[in-house]
Amino acid sequence: MLLIPCPHCGPRPETEFVYGGDARVKRPDPSNSSDEQWAAYIYERENPKGQHQELWLHSAGCHLWLIIERDTVTHAIGSVRAAREDQQ
């Protein structure tokens, strides 16, 4: 079970979090994307071996959506930051 260092709450067990998918996938402009581009946004996901950027919601904690750098092989966690701060 992962130990996730929430920037707001400190290190917390994985069971307090909800996984939210690939954080690198950005929502395209719906009025300006082809069916193919939109379908790719909805349905296509990579399954990287090694470094990955993931969204996790601290649902049993501060309710921040976090962007977590995780190595899918070793589970090593790199940077953890609030998704909101990442995009503003």
């Binding site: 992962l2 130990l3 939210g20 929502r27 349905y43 919601l57 959506w65 998704a83």
Partner: protein
């Protein structure tokens, strides 16, 4: 009946209390034991050779090992009707009054009729079941029943488990698995350095392998270090505790047998399951003694030599009075010495080496027979060993020497490191030619193996590695090629008859592995599954390396290249009870109750789970069965009216300058245009276009909205909203708060609803002008803020009244009094369901994660001119293809028929040959108003099938009813009633 302990030595036994003699039952016979005995040691002391039967062949088996590597002695233990199957007799302590039974035998392990299977040994090769019983496939179910009767472990208990279990979670600096010289030294060094240490010992005593010998130097050392450790407050010593799992980020699970250590203690659980998060992990799990290959090496009385010594010193039990001891290193002489000291008549020491050296000469000089350059080729005796067939074996050839009569053949195939914990954490392994074993490669996870678990089997090295690891120093890698010239236990020729077993528990022999290799199996993972090698409760601790070596030899690969099978947790069996802990029964299932829960109970509600909530399903006063009650309740709502507790519906408060814009992105329709005090039904989609949830949104302030959502969807909706706000549109200034628990909510529905509201709130103007459909007013009751929202789920004139939750019970009571005066009733979810089906409203049965708004007739709620989550997906081409399932109503032909559960829709009568399903029933109810059974269904192209006849069938239940496709709104299509 005279009970005795013929194999108990006259004195000694570090772990037992000879001052006390107690009794337990084994297969209904009374057996004596001393406190501290394991089941195995007590049975060995009683002279019982057969404790179990093997898995496949039902061969009689005795105790083979001393610890968790035991492959044979699995037993069912119990007190009264409470049974625990598949306990290893070697690590389970006996308790007064315990009843123990052997397994996998009928009528019992002593006389097992299935033992005849062994005579058919040649008919049961590797993969026998796969090859034989697969064809024809239709017969598999019949075979399976028979096979299960013959092959299996202990029976599952029938009675509820009376034992208590608990969980604990802790954080520590250092976790140490194993309390031998290496583990104890590590604990001392880390403890003295001020670290918090947990030291787990799977035994009831500290010392590990030191307990298996008598040695003045090591005994003194053990006494001293134990004293030092006990004096360190930061070192927690956990006895009878095994580290069973290694997980990500240094989480470890430990299984602790509490009652087995102390007897049943009031207020204490029998087992505790620990989750330990530790900065470092030191694996000091010692070594695993390996069996030797020879004919019938599984007979009761054949045993690991080191284990046999262990029984003398730990328990004062001599496993044989006239043993033959065989192996290829000097340990066999020390073991012979142990037996001589205990009073045994050692028949012979059979040493594979031609020139063993001084130890052999010393023992021979005392008159003990020592055979050099010889091996035991076969064990004789069926129910118990009676002779060892000894052969002279050297480079020049082999010849049969003699049949030496004996009651125990003690074998020493050398030790390999215990790798399970290291390998579970995906630690790498290196082949060590010197040890003929894999050894762990240190990794950077803060895990390190020391002592026997590292391949360092001598006392001084174990201590120095322990001290270094405890101080967090880096250890030199094990030397891989320093050959000790110990022959590998698998390098023995087959000289005589008898099956040479590799995996005792699963009856896997050398020839099974060779057969698998001949049939083309190369990967050890495949051979494991094909032959079942290493798949028992011992996880092939002893068998694994030998099986691997045999496969390597048979396929011409190097052992190092053949690899090892994956190790998975748990390393030793853990009971389900321990994993569940205290979360059983009511504790295992949290219940959320609304503010009026105890009134519902007093009013005779029958409850149903809705997520974590419990809600009144119906009130028993309205009918004896759920069917009767909901019909009465639904009819009363339409006739006069009723009240229902709807507090469980999700409520979310959304405010901020951008709240309106934000809601426009969440809902398919526009919310920003709502006037103050007005509400609108809205639909939320997932980004892929499927319906996610629905509910009503009210504007309660200039920049403030009140959202409702479904009971079951509440937490997912909140997550969805937070995702939209924090990830998709972080620039919006909006604040979102779930407020479900802050409010108590009642729906008041029916023709008399307005009268009830007026009686409740005499000062409120309840006319259509002030409170029209989708209107809201705020007022006060009991000096508390009250909201009245005119919304309807039932299709009747209806209001939802919300009050602060702490006044919910009072509101419910007041409404109950006032409504009964008007002849209105209380109703539950079942009637609510019937009412909404009559109106064609959707729930999660219809919005099942596949449907889009058009499918359920709600396409009109999608404002395609704006962007909201999911709208863009609706114009993807496949959503406009023909053949989508669409929501329709069904009127069942036979007026009172029930609809088959899981009903599928077919176009023609079920009597005709097989035909495809064109849809399925999502909900059905008996409509009191229409006086017939109605249903909602999703049917392919259903919107164009209105008026057609279909059949609802359940092939499983063999039921079929005829129905007519209609519009899903069954009553009051114009909505006259809700506007009344």
């Amino acid at each position: 009946m005279k009970v005795s302990q013929p194999n108990r030595t006259s004195k000694g036994g570090r772990l037992i209390d000879r001052g006390k003699t107690c009794e337990f039952q084994f297969d209904k016979r009374t057996i004596l034991f001393h406190p501290g005995d394991s089941i195995a040691s007590a049975l060995l002391a009683s002279g019982r050779p057969i404790i179990g039967r093997s898995f496949k062949l039902h061969r009689p088996r005795g105790v083979y090992a001393l610890g968790t590597d035991e492959p044979n002695a699995l037993v069912t233990t119990g007190f009264g009707p409470s049974l625990t199957p598949n306990q290893r007799a070697t690590v389970t302590l006996v308790e007064e009054g315990m009843s123990v039974s052997g397994q996998n035998a009928w009528p019992n392990v002593q006389n097992d009729l299935f033992g005849l299977l062994d005579r058919a040994r040649s008919l049961l090769p590797a993969g026998f079941y796969y090859k034989t019983f697969m064809w024809p496939p239709s017969q598999w179910l019949r075979y399976e029943g028979q096979i299960r009767k013959m092959a299996g472990l202990g029976p599952p208990p029938v009675e509820a488990d009376s034992a208590r279990y608990a969980h604990r979670n802790v954080h520590t600096d250092v976790l140490i698995a194993g309390a031998g010289p290496a583990g104890l030294s590590a604990a001392l060094a880390a403890g003295e350095a001020g670290q918090d240490v947990i030291l787990a010992s799977c035994s009831q005593a500290l010392g590990g392998g030191l307990l298996n010998h008598q040695n003045a130097v090591t005994d003194k050392w053990l006494a001293e270090i134990t004293k030092k450790l006990e004096a360190l407050p930061n070192v927690q010593i956990m006895k009878m505790t095994t580290v069973v799992g290694v997980y990500e980020h240094n989480l470890f699970t430990l299984s602790e047998r509490v009652a087995m250590r102390d007897g049943r203690i009031e207020g204490q659980p029998e087992e505790r399951f620990w989750q330990v998060r530790s900065g470092r992990f030191i694996i000091a799990a010692g070594g695993i003694e390996r069996p030797l290959l020879f004919g019938d090496n599984d007979r009761p009385g054949v045993m690991l030599a080191g284990a046999a010594s262990g029984y003398i010193w730990r328990y004062g039990v001599m496993v044989g009075k006239s043993p033959v001891i065989t192996g290829a290193d000097d340990r066999i002489y020390a073991i012979a010495r142990d037996f001589l000291d205990a009073g045994a008549n050692v028949r012979a020491v059979v040493d594979l080496r031609e020139e063993p050296g001084a130890m052999a000469d010393l023992l021979a000089a005392e008159g003990v027979r020592v055979e050099r350059g010889a091996i035991v080729a076969r064990a004789h005796g069926r129910r118990r060993v009676n002779a060892a067939e000894v052969w002279r074996y050297s480079k020049s050839g082999a010849n049969k020497l003699e049949l030496i009569s004996t009651d125990a053949i003690l074998t020493s195939g050398g030790y390999g490191p215990a790798l399970q914990l290291h390998a579970q954490a995906r630690g790498k392994l290196n082949w060590n030619a010197g040890l003929n074993a894999f050894v762990p490669v240190d990794n950077s996870d803060g895990h390190i193996s020391i002592g026997g678990a590292r391949g360092s089997f001598d006392f001084d090295t174990a201590i120095s590695e322990g001290l270094s690891a405890g101080r967090n120093e880096i250890l030199p890698a094990p030397v891989l090629s320093d050959a000790t010239n110990v022959p590998a236990p698998w390098d023995l020729p087959k000289l005589s008859k008898g099956t040479r077993f590799v995996d005792f528990q699963n009856d896997v022999a050398d020839k099974d592995i060779e057969l698998a290799a001949r049939e083309g199996y190369r990967s050890i993972e495949h051979v494991k599954r094909y032959t079942t090698l290493g798949m028992g409760t011992d996880q092939g601790r002893a068998a694994g390396p030998i099986g691997l070596a045999l496969l390597a030899a048979a396929t011409g690969q190097e052992i190092a290249d053949t690899g090892v099978t994956t190790f998975r947790p748990p390393t030793t069996p853990v009971t389900f009870g321990a994993v569940a802990g205290a979360t059983m029964g009511e504790v295992g299932h949290a219940i959320r109750r609304t503010a009026a829960d105890k009134f519902h109970e007093a009013q005779g509600a029958s409850f149903i789970d809705a997520g974590l909530w419990r809600r009144p399903r119906f009130y028993k006063a309205n009918g004896a069965t759920v069917g009767e009650a909901y019909r009465t309740e639904a009819a009363s709502v339409r006739e006069s009216g009723g009240i229902i507790d709807v507090s469980t519906l999700g409520k979310i408060d959304v405010q901020g300058p951008d709240a309106g814009i934000f809601l426009d992105k969440l809902y398919t329709n526009r919310m920003s245009s709502l006037r103050l005090g007005r509400g609108r039904y809205g639909l939320m989609l997932r980004e892929d276009g499927r319906i996610f949830d629905d509910g009503v949104v009210f504007r309660i302030g200039e920049n403030r909205f009140h959202l409702s959502c479904t009971t079951g969807g509440a937490s997912a909706v909140f997550q969805h909203i937070e995702h939209a706000l924090q990830v998709l549109w972080p620039g919006l200034e909006v604040y979102v708060t779930p407020v479900t628990e802050e409010w108590f909510a009642v729906a008041v529905s029916g023709p008399l609803a307005r009268d009830l509201l007026a009686n409740l709130l005499p000062d409120l103007d309840v006319t259509n002008a002030t409170l029209p459909l989708m209107g809201m007013v705020e007022t006060t009751l009991f000096n508390r803020r009250l909201r009245v929202m005119r919304i309807s789920y039932s299709g009747e004139l209806s209001y939802e009244i919300n009050i602060s939750a702490d006044w919910g019970a009072a509101l419910w009571q007041r409404l109950c009094e006032l409504s009964s005066k008007l002849g209105m009733i209380t109703y539950g979810t079942e009637a609510m369901g019937a009412l909404r089906i009559e109106k064609g409203h959707i729930t999660h049965a219809e919005a099942d994660g596949r449907t889009i708004p058009d499918d359920v007739g709600l396409g009109g709620l999608v404002d395609k001119k704006k962007d909201a989550i999911g709208i863009r997906s609706l114009s993807l081409p496949f959503f406009s293809e023909a053949g989508r399932k669409q929501l329709v109503g069904l009127v069942v032909g036979d007026q009172k028929a029930s609809v088959p559960i899981g009903g599928q829709i077919i176009a023609k009568d079920a009597g005709s040959a097989s035909q495809p399903s064109i849809g399925h029933v999502t909900s059905w109810a008996y409509s009191s108003e229409l006086e017939r059974t109605i249903a909602l269904a999703l049917i392919k192209n259903g919107h164009s099938m209105v008026g057609e006849k279909v059949f609802i069938v359940s092939p499983v239940m063999e039921e079929s009813v005829e129905a007519k496709v209609v519009d899903p709104v069954f009553i009051d299509k114009e909505g006259t009633r809700i506007r009344a």
